[in-house]
């Protein structure tokens, strides 16, 4: 049974207010606590290491899988390996994410290593949200690793969001796209205080017709620090576009390091990056609509990270 704090965390990271429809697996403080498989989606416990194997049957349509992780104690370091096999011609939404509530000082850490084999013509949407709350002296750490191999004609949508309260995060995302495979990746990060967040996204387009569209937006406040590295590798007749925008405020700092690497003369690769503060005219415009400066700032950030 989950208590109110735990449901509040699940609501934040996975929009779960009650036991979800479809397949799900809830992991709490390093242990699987609730699970359901469906006719088309099988979830089983790994036998060699902590984690689950998720198999989506060929041709599955319009089904979802919730696999949230919550930590509600300190002194925990949880590593989990989740492997997904997404059957050919299937359409599935996977809602993951990790929420940490620290009841006292101390550290809580979750390393989630997710591997996906996305079958031909499949369409997978993967939503991952990270959130932390609780004792201010607690150190909450999340280090997600996401490895995806997308077969021909498949589509992968990734929404990766860190919405606050995480002291340290190192996100590592690797995607291989085969012929005509398509990646749409949206990354959103908000840091404050002395938090640190780093993200490394590596995309290899190895098949003709592959495409990747990455939009990374972040806001760094107070004295927080963010680092972004993007490696976009084109090994075929492919198209890739990375757009990285950051708002930097107060004494925060952000760096963005792009690498676009064309190993085929037919590859078309673009990287755009912009880092700056909120423009004073943006604030004045919203103030002229009756918002206070603080309300205007909040609206601008909310829209930017939407």
């Amino acid at each position: 049974m989950l208590d109110a704090t735990e449901w509040a965390l699940l609501s934040k990271i996975a929009d779960m207010h009650e036991t979800p429809q479809g397949a799900y697996n809830i992991r709490k403080n390093g242990v699987g606590v609730e699970r359901r498989s469906t006719e088309n989606i099988s979830i089983s416990t790994k036998t060699d290491k902590p984690g689950i194997d998720v198999v989506v049957a060929v041709g599955t349509k319009n089904e979802s899988i919730h696999i949230p992780v919550i930590l509600t104690s300190v002194g925990i370091s949880d590593t989990v390996y989740n492997d997904f096999t997404i059957g050919a011609d299937s359409e599935v939404v996977i809602i993951a994410g990790c929420g940490i509530h620290s009841p006292g000082p101390g550290s809580a850490r979750h390393d989630g290593i997710h591997s996906f084999a996305v079958g031909p013509r499949a369409h997978m949407k993967y939503i991952e949200r990270h959130y932390g709350e609780g004792n201010e002296a607690s150190i909450r750490t999340l280090n997600p690793v996401t490895i995806i191999e997308a077969a021909r004609d498949s589509t992968v949508e990734l929404e990766m969001t860190q919405i606050g309260g995480i002291e340290s995060a190192l996100r590592d995302t690797k995607v291989i796209l085969h012929e005509n495979a398509k990646l749409i990746l949206a990354e959103r990060v908000l840091t404050s205080g002395s938090q640190k967040a780093a993200s490394q996204i590596t995309i290899e387009m190895s098949g003709d017709g592959a495409s990747a569209q990455v939009v990374s937006r972040s806001v760094a406040r107070d004295s927080s620090r963010q680092e972004y590295r993007f490696d976009l590798l084109g090994k075929a007749a492919c198209r890739g576009h990375i757009q990285c925008d950051a708002i930097v405020m107060d004494g925060a700092s952000v760096s963005s390091m792009p690498m676009i690497d064309a190993r085929d003369s037919r590859a078309q690769l673009i990287h755009e990056a912009a880092i700056g503060r909120i423009e004073s005219e943006q604030l004045l415009k919203l103030e002229s609509l009756g918002l206070t400066e603080k309300q205007a700032e909040a609206r601008i950030i909310e829209g930017f990270l939407a």
Binding site: E281, Q282, K285, E287, L289, T292, I300, G303, F304, A306
Partner: protein, 245 residues
């Protein structure tokens, strides 16, 4: 009524350099005023000072007898002042729908948002879900900027060069929207403009140069390029259909 007395603005960091010099002016309720004059003459600074974006070094601004000189932009907006920027800021991630809903305030309905957009000649189906950031043309942004002012239902609406950076097609819609706002809202309208079509809508034209309001008269006087010395002094002649600056 908006009353300005002895209003001066000094350049930032150079108190001896005055951008506005001892301006006296009264803007009566429900009237349409065009302020024109050469570039660098102080028009935008004057408009921004009325809205509280620029702080005066001396003088007073009173709205319906209440001194608002020390009020900030938010406070002036809440008192009924509306402002359209010459170059509307863009907002990444904020949809046109959300921007207009913010302008409409609490209880903004979908119908109200669509109605406001229609008043500036934009089709809600095409624009509401678009980002008020990149991707919209200068003319589209100006019309949306205009819509935000309409949505506020201000008692005093200030427009800083609504014609700047737009095509003739958009100018037509802006001119119609200004005319419609004048007819429908009863707001006092203060429009900085070089455009004959917009100036022609005004009840009164004020000519600003070198930080001073040096002449005032009717639009007809201005557009004809003649004004009796006994009325308001001569206006420079504007070329018909051309920018005045």
């Amino acid at each position: 009524m908006l009353k300005i007395r002895d209003l001066s603005v000094s350049a930032e960091g150079a108190t001896n350099l005055k951008l506005l010099k001892d301006i006296d002016a009264t803007f009566a309720d429900g009237r349409f005023y065009a302020i024109t004059g050469p570039n660098g003459g102080g028009k935008t600074t004057f408009a921004k000072t009325l809205m509280g974006i620029v702080r005066p070094s001396s003088g007073t601004i009173a709205l319906n007898g209440r001194d608002i000189t020390d009020k900030n932009v938010t406070e002036r907006a809440m008192l009924g002042l509306g402002y359209a920027f010459q170059t509307p800021p863009r907002f990444k991630g904020l949809s046109v729908r959300k921007l207009l809903a913010l302008a409409l305030g609490d209880g903004a309905t979908e119908d109200a948002v669509r109605g406001i957009l229609a008043r500036v000649g934009l089709d809600a189906r095409e624009y509401l879900d678009r980002d008020a950031g990149g991707g919209l043309s200068g003319g589209e942004m100006k019309r949306i900027e205009f819509a935000t002012v309409l949505a506020r239902k201000p008692t005093v609406a200030i427009f800083d060069e609504p014609e700047a950076g737009i095509d003739l097609w958009s100018l037509g819609y802006i001119a119609e929207a200004l005319s419609g706002m004048r007819a429908d809202s009863g707001a006092t309208m203060i429009v900085i403009s070089h455009q004959e079509r917009i100036i022609g809508l005004a009840d009164e034209v004020l000519y600003m140069t070198d930080g001073r309001l040096s002449r005032r008269g009717t639009a007809a006087d201005f557009l004809a390029g003649i004004a009796g010395e006994e009325k308001c002094g001569p206006f420079p002649t504007a070329e018909r259909g051309a920018s005045y600056a």
